[in-house]
Symmetry: C2
Subunit: 132 residues, 2 copies
DNA sequence: AGTATTTGTTTAGCTAGGTAAATAAATTAG
DNA sequence: CTAATTTATTTACCTAGCTAAACAAATACT
């Protein structure tokens, strides 16, 4: 069995756990952060836009948004098309965003700091080649 | 935000889903395969040996083994030390192992075939560098 | 206009990972 | 030898991903 898969899955789990650990101070999970970051960059988005962008299935986003809404990070508003819900960052999220981003940047620097820019590019290229 | 993490997490999810898809014909999930493979290589193992080897937490393995046991893939036997349970592959698992391994090898060839041996090595080295 | 299909979201139910805490057996300390 | 601590497993409960199917609103078809 090719050890690449094992190594890839392990590292992915490891990094997720580290990220969760670091985000605890902001009361966030890494996946929640991903959504906040997405909304911060793109502005208000429908659920469909979010799950297509993040490349996950719709139910995962429905649940994640429900939790983020309950925690006060996002607002869910009906769109003109009455089927769709539009999600926006709450003022609370906007206010706290810079501090969280700072945490994230420090984390990334720590985790990826050992790789040069070329290595990072190379890594992305190799990742890209792994598909069916 | 460094796109490396997003790319890594996405690829990890993608490959897991592909592997699950391919293993459907054997009525297995990728994580279950990982455990069967582990047992096949090492012979009988305690739960602790398994979760330490696979680098996950104990409860994940307890649950996975319970399912594998119910499906008839493994047997759970008391050890001499009455605290520990020893897990072994069932005859059914031994019998089916070669066919599953064939499926896995084909999958790996398809997914990693675009990378040369040097690229695979390079990939592992870069992965290794990503830690705190 | 009325029906059929598509689209956006949600619900239900599954595996996989995590932490915290319970339990039981083994080991160590006094 | 009893009490305290450690070790192996399990239970309870959380997030995150998945598929399948339900539902309502919008669109397309005839």
């Amino acid at each position: 069995m090719n050890p690449i898969f094992h190594a890839l899955f392990q590292k992915s789990r490891y990094l997720t756990n580290c990220l969760n650990e670091v985000l605890k101070q902001h009361n966030l999970y890494s996946s929640q952060w991903t959504i906040l970051y997405c909304l911060h960059n793109h502005g208000p988005m429908t659920l469909t836009q979010i799950w297509k962008y993040l490349n996950v299935e719709a139910p995962s986003i429905t649940r994640a948004i429900t939790r983020l809404e309950n925690l006060g990070w996002v607002l869910r508003v009906d769109g003109e098309d009455k089927r769709e819900k539009i999600v926006t960052l709450s003022p609370y999220a906007e206010e706290n965003f810079p501090a969280i981003k700072k945490t994230i940047l420090a984390f990334e620097k720590e985790m990826v700091g050992a790789l040069t820019d070329e290595e990072q590019q190379q890594f992305m290229i190799l990742l890209e080649k792994m598909k069916g």
